[in-house]
């Protein structure tokens, strides 16, 4: 297990990075020192930080940045190294995962409500999936985290401080990777995958353009700008998502291996995952 310095990789300070900030994320100094290692702000209700023995690794990046491919490979690698792995991702909670799918399909939801449904989904997974795994010493690979949720809200006009306050009780990751790709590349990859671009991925609810391609590019560019702001404040490890799968994977393994004390980070995917190794 890592020493206490490694635990602090997420960087200090509040999520929005502003020293004055919203009243919602400022905190008495003594209390902050005790919890900021684990949370962005407020501690989660009924949570004991001393129980955490696992590692939380977050992979962020836009659709088409290669997140899910990398997570599949990392899970296999970690399991082959003898680590137990849990994954999480957006809309995967038992509580509201399917409800959000339905709301999206119907497109009958307003932005604040949707944002709060995603927050519910997120915290349900924190409490029922991520924390139990971290208590059991597992490595949690999170396919996206609060950063995507905050960026999506901000570009839709929801106050940044409001969202930071909302996610103040989120666990602070040990490592946050940002697979950065150009929106044009992401578009090509996504299109190849599904032969179509979804309404939400293109940010069509924002009326940016009736042209699907331009809507996608403009929306993802706005999201990317938000990520650039958050990357500095939250100590993201930025990786070039346009590099080959194996190159990106090697860098991920190096960093994650360092945190877990895995020395040799050599890895070749099994036959089942060989098709991902491009």
């Amino acid at each position: 297990m890592p020493d206490s310095e490694k635990d602090k990789i997420g960087g200090g300070g509040t999520l929005d990075g502003s020293p004055t900030g919203a009243p919602a994320v400022t905190k008495a100094a003594g209390e902050e020192a005790a919890t900021s290692q684990y949370f962005f702000g407020e501690p989660l209700v009924g949570f004991d930080p001393s129980e955490i023995t696992g590692q939380l690794v977050v992979i962020e990046g836009m659709d088409g940045s290669g997140r899910s491919t990398q997570i599949a490979l990392l899970q296999e690698w970690l399991e082959s190294e003898g680590f137990s792995v849990q994954t999480s991702g957006l809309r995967r909670s038992n509580l509201v995962g399917r409800d959000i799918d339905e709301l999206l399909a119907k497109n009958a939801v307003t932005r604040l409500t949707l944002s709060l449904m995603y927050a519910t989904d997120f915290f349900d997974q924190v409490e029922h999936r991520i924390l139990p795994a971290l208590r059991a010493g597992a490595v949690v690979l999170a396919d996206r985290f609060i950063f995507t949720l905050i960026a999506r809200g901000v570009v839709r006009g929801i106050n940044r401080d409001y969202l930071s306050g909302l996610y103040a009780m989120a666990l602070r990751p040990h490592l946050t990777f940002w697979l950065n790709v150009r929106p044009e590349t992401a578009f090509a990859r996504e299109f190849k995958k599904a032969q179509a671009i979804s309404y939400w991925e293109a940010g069509r609810d924002m009326s940016l353009s009736h042209d699907l391609y331009w809507s996608f590019i403009r929306y993802q560019t706005m999201i990317k700008r938000e990520f650039e702001v958050m990357a500095k404040k939250n100590g993201f490890i930025e990786l070039d998502g346009e590099a080959s799968v194996s190159q990106v994977n090697r860098q991920l393994r190096l960093k994650i291996g360092e945190g877990l004390g895995i020395r040799a980070t050599k890895y070749t995917p099994s036959a089942a995952l060989a098709h991902l190794w491009r």
């Binding site: 919602a24 409500t113 449904m117």
Partner: protein, 263 residues
């Protein structure tokens, strides 16, 4: 406090500039349209109080009075958005809810009503009556252990009521009203998730005591109009109507004048 435009502070039209800032930049007065202190002309009346305090009965009677008078109004209830209902029901049935997710689901429910009913109606010059409002979440979720500051931020988008009636009834009276009228208390309703007691009635009592304490703390900070929930129904209603008539310019919500019909 009353004039603060909380909703627009949290949710803006992306890409559009803040109207108030824009107006502030202009050196000329806007002809015929003074810079509004808030973005809506409607009015919001809220009732709060513990279960069994009599608040719903009183709001119903207030609503009847206004309806009979022909005023433009809309009535909204806590925890009633169809969008979020199935999730709440499932969470309660399977006991999946923690203090955090319980609170967030109710906030999502409120946001849906706020974005689709309360705000549009306030902007459309309606009188909006709310049976329970954000103070219910502040009192109840804090009783479950949610950090008060986190809760305040969560509901920061809520428009601040013109009047918040707080129906205060002593714990014994309120608990007796509920327990005598209801055969079985539900799990979350009784606060069983807090592990205060194995006995539902006892758990409910302890939970309600915490909530009552939470309400009492907000009386000053949130400008509650405190009414005595033990008074006879009609007396209480008279007080309520007098206060509404004195604080709100009801003429504004009266039926719009039509030209006299010609025979």
């Amino acid at each position: 406090m009353e004039n603060q435009d909380t909703f627009k502070d949290v949710v803006k039209d992306p890409g559009k500039k803040d109207a108030r800032l824009e107006a502030g930049k202009s050196t000329l007065p806007q002809p015929g349209r003074p810079v509004p202190s808030r973005a809506y002309p409607g009015a919001l009346i809220v009732v709060e109080g513990t279960d069994g305090s009599g608040k719903s009965t009183q709001l119903y009677l207030l609503k009847r009075w206004l309806e009979i008078g022909g005023y433009r109004l809309h009535f909204t209830e806590w925890n009633s958005s169809p969008l979020v209902k199935s999730a709440t029901r499932r969470g309660k049935q399977r006991r999946l809810l923690t203090p955090t997710t319980f609170s967030l689901l109710h906030a999502a429910d409120f946001a849906d009503r706020c974005e689709r009913q309360i705000m549009p109606l306030l902007q459309g010059d309606y009188l909006v009556l709310a049976d329970r409002y954000i103070y219910t979440a502040f009192a109840r979720d804090a009783a479950r252990g949610c950090p008060p500051r986190w809760l305040r931020n969560l509901y920061r988008f809520a428009p601040i009521p013109d009047i918040t009636f707080y129906f205060r009834a002593p714990l014994d009276v309120a608990v007796h009203r509920i327990l005598s009228g209801r055969p079985k208390l539900k799990y979350y309703e009784a606060g069983m998730d807090l592990g205060l007691s194995y006995d539902r009635a006892e758990s409910f009592r302890l939970f309600q005591a915490r909530i009552l304490e939470g309400y009492d703390k907000m009386v000053e900070s949130d400008n509650f109009v405190v009414l005595d929930g033990t008074l006879p129904v009609n007396k209480l209603q008279k007080q309520m109507r007098d206060i509404v008539a004195s604080k709100i310019d009801l003429k504004r919500f009266a039926p719009r004048a039509h030209a006299p019909e010609q025979e």
